[in-house]
């Protein structure tokens, strides 16, 4: 007998021994082989959040505009009376490591259907991506494959990709991060639900046929990537069909219009099993399902394969008894399959038949009632030492060369070659597309309002100080939204970390979540949903703990949107916001000195809240001409970017007392809650008064001018032509 056959069934299904015992206790018996496989995927980290749930409870999830918080397929928040936005972020990291094109494409498809499940029409996508450095051929292959996959799916499905970010670090070489967020629009009174209710109502399968692809995908996403992952796990990656995805959106919205749909959910991770179990459990009901009615792509599929398949572009719906035809007709009109699989039952029992044989009979709540784990959190001593490294003796480089090197850094350069591959204009809403601090969409349903969207997160900061990284992600996303003049109303967060069974990853997770929670609480911005991706490890080790925060803001009038770049020669340039800066974890330290060390500056959350208010009010009052958030590369890079975007120069002076007198700290130090603004001279006084009144520090730096960026420092002067800045920034690799 071969060794593999001796592995106990529970282990082969992916459960621990104590989990298997818990299953037996919940059922009052041993599960059969089919049930065991269902528990294996439903109790995977990917589906059950076993290690993250205890932490996620700390996030503030309520607020006046929140119509649906976490626990649904997407969060929903009202953005105008009667009009709401559904938003969600999801990761597709492991599939993208194995098959970057299809992994990323199906990531797009999956998040669209989460938003669709709320009854919302998807309006826009944002992608937050992390890869190894582009000089590494493998990392570049992954990146180009992911970008092509997003382009393939997003363009065809007709949902614009309006923003996102791409950052590069060694730790993402073998385990890239592909987080995709979607925002959709729904009338407040028509928000859909995934709660199955009404015994006797029909359970309807809609979409494409079920095949053998993606079986065990959720489990695969819950393990570390093996060295030979690319070969062994390809079967766990699904294949997307964007045409079917597009038809599913149209057909589902049409079906919802009928008013006959009681509940719906995407058949994503863990496929039919997860959709049926979660919908039943949420409604406190059961379901009888007949597997032989599931449309199939191939013959000879076993019940386990049908139940666990993660074939894309499929939805499960509960439809009012007697009105099934209205729903089936909508799907069939769009050329999709729609079949009645069974019905809702009052008794909370999931009964699945294969022909006449009852193959599954269990409580849906048992499937959704996975245990949670708390691993003792421990900061690794080496990490602490790294954070406490003194950076005072750092040699000062040539500032001009350092600035140009930062602008050429793959994380800072223009991403135009990437986003020009995405249709970012379809649907006629994109007022500001990719490449700005935040994207802006007009709300045709509530003119002149608009939405601002931004996705942000810095793994390096989180690696050195998880709390600071979590809080900084919230601060940056909300500030980007405020920089175009919008008021932040909600966030969704994607957390990407290593193996949570290790104390150091538990420590990172706790810190990052606390940082996000504290920042959101201080700002009064709720977290309406999110995603956690763990086990992001390869033979090269774990990725940096990487939070991705996607913020939605509301702009009262899209015609008042503030640009990033300088606009008028003679305008005054000012730095608004916090004084806390550090070289710790900065892009400058990495690019110029080749180091990742030091303590990042921690945000002052109360100051941040005041800064966001000042920006929104100043934009509404027409006091500002432009605003640009400071992030990677600090003030130097922000000034350069504002010059290049506006094709204008600037003359600035940084006072010697500023930031301890070190020119590199002043220019390239990073800290949260800082913005470079340009202000018409006649409005400067009013703006400065507003800042002072609100307790937000403001420093006049200089004026917008022609041709070059000139910064006078205590020990010299930096002067670079805008043309040189632009050339450096165009150095996409």
């Amino acid at each position: 007998m071969r060794a593999a056959t001796r592995i106990p069934g529970w282990q082969a299904a992916g459960l621990r021994r104590e989990e298997y015992e818990r299953v037996c206790a919940l059922l009052g018996r041993e599960p059969n082989a089919v049930e065991l496989r269902m528990f294996g995927v439903m109790w995977s980290e990917h589906c059950a959040y076993k290690h993250s749930r205890p932490y996620l409870k700390r996030l503030p999830t309520t607020g006046s505009g929140v119509l649906r918080g976490p626990g649904e397929n997407a969060g929903v928040v009202e953005v105008s009376p009667g009009l709401a936005v559904a938003l969600k972020v999801e990761s597709h990291n492991h599939p993208s490591a194995v098959d970057p094109f299809h992994g990323a494409a199906t990531g797009v498809g999956g998040i669209l259907r989460d938003v669709l499940s709320m009854g919302a029409r998807p309006l826009a996508l944002l992608d937050s991506l992390r890869f190894g450095p582009p000089d590494d051929r493998h990392a570049r292959r992954l990146r180009d494959g992911v970008v092509a996959g997003i382009s393939h799916y997003g363009n065809c499905v007709g949902v614009p990709v309006v923003g996102g970010e791409i950052l590069y670090e060694d730790c993402y070489r073998a385990n890239p991060l592909v987080n995709v967020a979607c925002v959709g629009l729904v009338s407040s009174s028509r928000v859909a639900s995934s709660r199955a209710t009404g015994p006797g109502n029909s359970v309807v399968y809609a979409g494409t046929r079920t095949g053998r692809d993606g079986i065990g995908g959720a489990r695969f996403a819950s393990e570390e990537l093996a060295e030979d992952a690319a070969e062994a796990d390809r079967g766990a990656v699904q294949m997307g069909d964007p045409l079917a995805g597009k038809l599913l959106i149209e057909a589902t919205l049409e079906a919802l219009q009928s008013g006959a749909v009681v509940a719906l959910q995407d058949m994503g991770a863990a496929g039919l099993t997860c959709a049926a179990a979660e919908m039943s459990a949420r409604g406190g009901v059961g379901m009888v399902l007949h597997l032989d009615r599931v449309p199939r792509r191939e013959r000879g599929m076993t019940p386990v394969e049908v139940l666990l398949s993660e074939s894309q572009e499929r939805m499960l719906l509960v439809v009012q008894r007697g009105r099934e035809e209205e729903v089936l007709r909508a799907y069939r009109r769009w050329g999709l399959r729609a079949e009645i699989l069974g019905e809702v039952t009052a008794e909370p029992l999931l009964q699945v038949y294969d022909g006449r044989e009852l193959v599954v009979e269990l409580s849906p709540c048992a499937l959704t009632d996975a245990p949670t784990y708390r691993v003792p959190e421990q900061e690794p001593p080496a990490r602490r030492a790294l954070r406490e490294v003194s950076l005072e003796g750092l040699p000062q480089p040539d500032l001009k060369e350092a600035l140009l090197a930062l602008l050429r850094s793959p994380s800072v350069v223009t991403k135009r070659p990437v986003y020009s591959q995405y249709d970012h204009m379809v649907q006629l809403r994109t007022v500001v597309g990719p490449g700005s601090d935040a994207a802006v969409l007009r709300l045709l349903e509530a003119p002149p309002r608009g939405l601002a969207l931004s996705a942000d997160g810095n793994g390096r900061l989180s690696y050195l100080d998880p709390w600071a990284g979590g809080a900084a992600a919230v601060c940056e996303a909300t500030l980007n939204v405020a920089c175009v003049g919008a008021r932040p109303v909600a966030i969704t967060d994607g957390l990407n970390l290593g193996n949570p069974e290790r104390p150091e990853v538990a420590w990172e997770l706790a810190g990052v979540v606390d940082g996000i929670a504290d920042a959101c609480a201080a700002l009064g911005v709720p977290v309406v949903g999110g995603n956690v991706s763990l086990y992001n490890e390869s033979e090269l080790g774990a990725v940096y703990p990487t939070p991705v925060v996607v913020c939605v803001g509301v702009l009262e009038d899209v015609s008042q949107v503030l640009p990033t770049g300088f606009c008028e020669s003679g305008d005054l340039v000012a730095l608004v916001g916090g004084d806390r800066v550090s070289l710790g974890g900065s892009e400058y330290l990495r690019v110029v000195h080749g180091r990742v060390a030091g303590a990042p500056a921690r945000p002052d959350l109360q100051l941040h809240r005041r800064l966001v208010n000042v920006l929104v009010r100043a934009a509404q009052a027409g006091l500002l001409r432009s605003a640009h958030d400071l992030s990677e590369g600090g003030l130097g890079v922000a000034l350069a970017e504002a010059c290049v975007a506006g094709r204008l120069g600037a003359r600035c002076t940084l006072s010697p007392q500023l930031f301890g007198g070190r020119a590199d700290v002043a220019l390239f130090g990073e800290g949260p809650s800082r913005v470079v603004v340009s202000v018409p001279p006649e409005r400067y006084e009013a703006f400065a008064e507003l800042c002072v009144r609100e307790g937000v520090p403001i420093r006049l730096l200089g004026t917008v001018g022609e041709g070059e960026l000139r910064v006078r420092l205590a020990d010299g002067e930096l002067a670079v032509s805008v043309e040189q800045l632009r050339a450096a920034q165009e150095a996409y690799r």
């Binding site: 045409l243 986003y419 006629l428 007022v431």
Partner: protein
């Protein structure tokens, strides 16, 4: 009274709603969707084949749509002198259906490109361009992976001779240069009209630049031109 527009919806069309928005909300004229299985175009003065990925662009962009019932009807409609406007994927459908010469191949550089481009309006004596100045340079967005217009040289020469090239890619100084040609199209062709002048196909998206808030209004005049022309032809003055 004004001209009536039909906007065709294929499975996978994704600019259908955008075209309808511009016709309804910007021009304020009657317009409705036409389902791909319909063969009835009576009552329409103009038929728009919108952008998108009809039938997923499987086989070749536009190839499957070209065999659909509605395109059969569009052929009769065009033969009877009806005005037909194909945008992006709609242009691809028109070439696949034989209503316009040439073909649209994979972009030079092989990647999808979504960006603003400059175009020179070569003719203002068509129903679609009457409100432009001849030789005027306008800005419109493109968004396509298969937009490289191709025709054998003798066909391209014929197109030039018969003045069928209506829009040409140019650089921002109005010259036909390699930099100004985003996809490698022969003769920098961005849009062509049939010999009779009632069927126009173009890769750029005029519906994406019909409102100032979206960055430009050069596309609006295309819809206004065809609207006026059709209303006039139908004896209804807008």
């Amino acid at each position: 009274m004004s001209a009536r527009f039909g906007v065709v919806v294929f499975p996978g069309s994704n600019c259908d709603r955008d075209c309808l928005h511009v016709l309804h909300e910007v021009l304020g004229c009657p317009a409705e969707f036409v389902w791909h299985e319909s063969e009835d175009l009576s009552g329409f003065d103009v038929v728009v084949l919108p952008g998108g990925f009809s039938y997923g662009d499987y086989l070749r962009p536009g190839a499957v749509a070209a065999t659909s019932p509605v395109v059969r009807a569009v052929k009769h409609f065009a033969a009877a002198g009806g005005l037909v406007l194909g945008i992006c994927n709609g242009f691809q459908v028109l070439t696949e259906a034989g209503l316009l010469p040439g073909a649209l191949l994979r972009n030079r550089g092989a990647t999808f490109r979504c960006e603003w481009v400059s175009l020179r309006v070569e003719r203002s004596d068509t129903p679609f361009t009457a409100l432009y100045e001849p030789g005027e340079v306008v800005r419109m967005p493109i968004a396509h992976g298969d937009g490289r217009y191709h025709a054998p040289e003798e066909v391209a020469e014929e197109l030039e001779r018969c003045r069928q090239v209506v829009f040409r890619y140019v650089d921002n100084r109005g010259r036909t240069t390699a930099e100004g040609n985003p996809n490698g199209s022969v003769h920098h062709i961005a849009g062509v009209v049939n010999r009779a002048g009632n069927v126009l196909g173009l890769m750029p998206h005029p519906e994406r630049c019909a409102e100032e808030v979206l960055g430009g209004t050069d596309g609006r005049r295309l819809f206004e031109s065809v609207h006026r022309w059709a209303a006039h032809a139908a004896g209804r003055v807008p």
